[in-house]
Point group: C2
Chain length 606, copies 2
């Protein structure tokens, strides 16, 4: 069921005198969370007191959990200096103990200082409560310093450019073994603006929030704090993947409410508020409408698609006009249309509309194997279409013996990957229903794939039960937190009617992609498009997606995560395999694991 | 976190013309759910139509799921007549298919007709979506008929009395293997009122709702529909275990809103709206404060207990008065009090209050091993008690070397089962802190047990991961849907200070209970009471529970479910075992399984 998207707006300040007062200040300026050092010193310092912090009782447990992000001490637990390393570890562990005491589900934030974070990773893995928010500068802070340094050599600049902060995070992510409680907080920086590909790559990471330093704001002509258009766009990308906002400001800053108001406007502009947002990044096992009957809820969701049935109607209308000349129409020529899989009637309605608009007579046979859908269809015939030439058959189309042959077969048997609901097998089985010169709507479908990075999808796959076979499944998923490593390419194609002597619906293909940037491959995105009639198409390929159509989410075929380098070639091989009982896909990226061998995971029952 | 309790009020009517209209009528009379036959015939019947029901589209999927309970055809799938049995099965399966089509999370209701329901159980196990509500008459309907039949022999009456409808349900429950989606709906009957033990036993079952026929209502002097006091009490019992209400009435009934208004009042009177109701029937792994530090949230919950600390204060006050005569007090005699486990200070506060009220001087040593709690305590000393004679030690009491010996040890180390947080071991370890004539508050604790029936607790145990070892755990649980098969009896006792030569904290005892009625044993309830000082006690034994005290929920030690007969003796044996690393309980009911052998499940680390 759809849920409202809730962002939090966090005020980060250091050197504050009282956490409760910081919360009051934040709330009165329209923030609902605060971030501050866990060691805020809120008492007059006793010189003999070794540990002069505030007591747990300044806030209640619910407030500690819901209103405070603790910034841990900025110490270097991975220092090459053993003494400093041990000292840092003691401090950090003390902070973690105190944080776990105050919060049983809260969050701590820690800053990455460079590419080596193995000790930090070990500490992270021991903390069992709440989340770790890992602050990563969006670009290497060293780069910014070169602007002011005339003496930097070209080599130094190059090295700093290569010391990409994404790698700091990537090393940590592997060191904590993709632990889902570790999330990224991207820190923006007013001295360096990242390019768009750098931003896009972060969208495939488990982004918790972005830190916006108040120095990023400028005053406009009316003296209001605003952001440059370029920053608006960058931040908009993060908002679109549900990143929360942390404003970092000095305690003396008096424009706090201007920042939060401005950010709320920006969230409104960039937040994607479609009805299905609760499905984002969720993994669903694909439907198998051939072996399992759909329920009323599923029909209702599909019927609500505002675009799909109109395009079907256009296709049928055009086909009727092309097939029956006006003179024949005037003589009352009847076109026999067979609807294969009538569901609760939306396509039948589209066909009747098309007949009316084209002024062509149709006789409609509706074949439907779901006896529950038949109940609703029968009622529709009786109440909505009492005078139409319509006939319902409660049958599997593969076993149906028609009273006459069809001019046009109409079906909507396509899944998110095109053929994955066994449309080829069903339509081949229905070929006997069609006149020799008859046609099928749709007449072609094509699947598409590309390599994608998505830490969240990977985590969700790992959380499937049992996790062992989870990597042998293809999932339907509303892809949200992803990075397209390269553009989708066409994989398999099926045409209908297929009148070949020997019909072979097995397929095999190998496609090559290229990484635009260093990144991690987490799996393969799957999409399709289909031609209904002539150039009337439906598509969920991201490059050509039919606007406004939501009947299909993409597919995701997982792999084990592997880091690839910029310009690396990524080879993806896919197989569509068929035996007497079932159809299944196998897939393999580069020379990595061969997934779903013999259909041991995801397979479609015939 | 606490949640509001939501009951639904359902209107059950048969022979209705339209489900949407029934919903409208129900809503306008303050019901929010309807129950009606799934085969409601809402269309003019076509003589050639074999299946003349309503289409799925008369309601949306959300409404089908949330507003309608489908009453399945009242057919006998367990009939001895093979033909009738097969016919009934076909009808019922058709109903189930239609229900699953309309509802992907909804509920169907079916009526039990007698003790044999194996075929029905098989059908239930095949349905994967939503719940089964099983209607069971609260007493055998045959009994009621004897009132009007003069010819019934004594033997007939006895047989009917023995044919207890609880057994109808109990047979089914075992046949569906305790499937948690199968719930009981108790049907009340105006011709026979159940006795209180019959009602109480149902409270241990997974009660979904009760059906109240409108005929149960009578008109009062002001012509309002009300229930007899006896029925109010019976229904009140069901409301107290969160049973929902189904009013069954004729379509022509025009007092519908009177019934629902009356029932809402009754719910208000009997619904137990404490803050902790979201914990009801939940299983929690007991805390281990000795091996794991408590967090601030846990301290906060315990500190909020309105009764416990007042009783501690009374106990300390009385002890101070008894120990120090007025004349000695006048001379400024100091009583040394050691608080073993200071937490965030509530007992220290109680001790200072006691000192003030008794006008006795105390020197307080607070020993606390949780370094995070010490932070808060240190702050309290500085800000709240700057002029008190108080000293904090960040230590395990077993390793503490005191600057002087104590007159009084005060501790709150007891768990739900008394000694299960290792109070005996801790207090034995602290004996060296106490003067030879010193005393301990508390000075005695006793555990109690009894056999209980609770289908919901059993289901919750089965859902623990991994379920294999779940039956070797003792759980802390706010027992709600339970039936006390017999009253609790004392099990183990510990006294402090324990100055015996050889201290032995192992225990073994075997207690005998007797079943008041036929029922199922699902496990053993565990409780404790403790004597703080003289006759000042705390108790969670249901027979003597300290009013208003919520710091401890009872314990539940599961067994595999077994049916026992009225007057059967139920023997429960418990062991408290100790080795160098840990303490654990083992338990065994009758000659059934021996649980938690060698502490492989629940054990307390020393």
């Amino acid at each position: 069921m759809p849920e409202k998207v809730n962002y939090y707006m966090c005020l980060h300040q250091e050197g504050i005198a009282s956490i409760p007062r910081l919360i009051d200040k934040a709330y009165s300026n329209n923030y609902n969370v605060v971030a501050t050092s866990i060691n805020a010193n809120m008492l007059p310092m006793d010189p003999f007191e070794t540990d002069p912090t505030y007591p747990a009782t300044v806030l209640g447990a619910v407030e500690w959990n819901s209103k405070v992000i603790f910034v841990l001490s900025d110490v270097d637990v991975d220092s090459p200096n053993a003494k400093l390393r041990e000292y840092s570890k003691t401090l950090l562990l003390r902070d973690v103990t105190w944080a776990e005491h105050l919060q049983n589900v809260g969050s701590v934030m820690v800053k990455l200082r460079g590419p080596n974070n193995n000790q930090l990773a070990e500490i992270m893995k021991t903390k069992s409560k709440g989340h770790w928010f890992v602050q990563v500068p969006i670009t290497n802070p060293e780069l910014a310093t070169f602007e002011h340094r005339k003496d930097a050599t070209e080599e130094e600049v190059m090295r700093a450019e290569e010391d990409d902060t994404w790698h700091w995070w990537n090393n940590l992510r592997f060191a904590v073994d993709h632990y889902p409680k570790v999330k990224v907080v991207i820190v923006l920086n007013d001295s360096d603006r990242p390019n768009s590909e750098t931003v896009r790559r972060w969208l495939g990471e488990p982004i918790e929030a972005i830190v916006i330093p108040s120095s990023l704001f400028v005053r406009n002509r009316t003296n209001y704090c605003v952001l440059h258009r370029e920053w608006q766009e960058i931040i908009g990308h993060f908002i679109s993947v549900r990143a929360n906002i942390i404003i970092s400001a000095n305690p003396s800053d008096n424009a706090l409410s201007q920042y939060s108001d401005y950010m709320k406007k920006l969230i409104n502009d960039h937040c994607d508020t479609h009805e299905l947002n609760s499905y984002e990044n969720m993994l669903e096992i694909p439907l198998q409408p051939l072996s399992e009957n759909l329920d009323s809820y599923t029909y209702e969701v599909f019927e609500a698609d505002p675009v799909k049935y109109k395009l079907y109607q256009d296709a049928v209308q055009q086909a009727l006009l092309d097939r029956v000349a006006d003179t024949d129409a005037a003589k009352g020529k009847v076109t026999v249309v067979m609807l294969l899989g009538g569901g609760r009637g939306p396509l039948a309605r589209a066909i009747f509309n098309a007949a009316e608009l084209s002024e062509r007579k149709v006789r409609l046979y509706i074949i439907e194997k779901n006896s529950s859908a038949i109940r609703t269809l029968s009622n529709m015939v009786k109440t909505l279409w009492p005078n139409k030439d319509v006939h319902i058959f409660s049958k599997d189309m593969r076993d149906f013996s028609p009273p006459e042959l069809a001019d046009i077969l109409v079906s909507e048997l396509l899944g998110s990957f095109g053929d994955n609901e066994l449309s080829p097998e069903c339509l081949d089985g229905a070929l006997k229903l069609l006149k020799p010169d008859g046609l099928s709507i749709p007449y072609k479908s094509t699947s598409y794939i590309n390599p994608i990075m998505s830490a969240i999808l990977h985590q969700n796959v790992c959380q499937q039960v049992p996790s062992v076979s989870a990597f042998n499944y293809g999932y339907v998923s509303l892809l949200k937190n992803i990075y397209h490593i390269d553009e989708p390419q066409a994989l398999f194609e099926f045409c209908h009617p297929n009148r070949e002597e020997i019909v072979d619906n097995t397929r095999n293909a190998k496609l090559e992609f290229k990484a635009i940037k260093d990144c991690v491959v987490h799996g393969v995105g799957g999409y399709f498009d289909t031609h209904l009639y002539k150039d009337i198409t439906l598509s969920i390929n991201p490059l050509t997606h039919t606007p406004g159509m939501f009947s299909w989410f993409p597919m995701f075929f997982p792999t084990q995560p592997k880091t690839v380098k910029k310009d690396d070639v990524i080879t993806i091989e896919f197989w569509r395999c068929v035996d007497k009982q079932q159809v299944w896909y196998e897939w393999k990226v580069n020379d990595w694991e061969h997934h779903n061998v013999k259909g041991i995971g995801y397979n479609m029952k015939l």
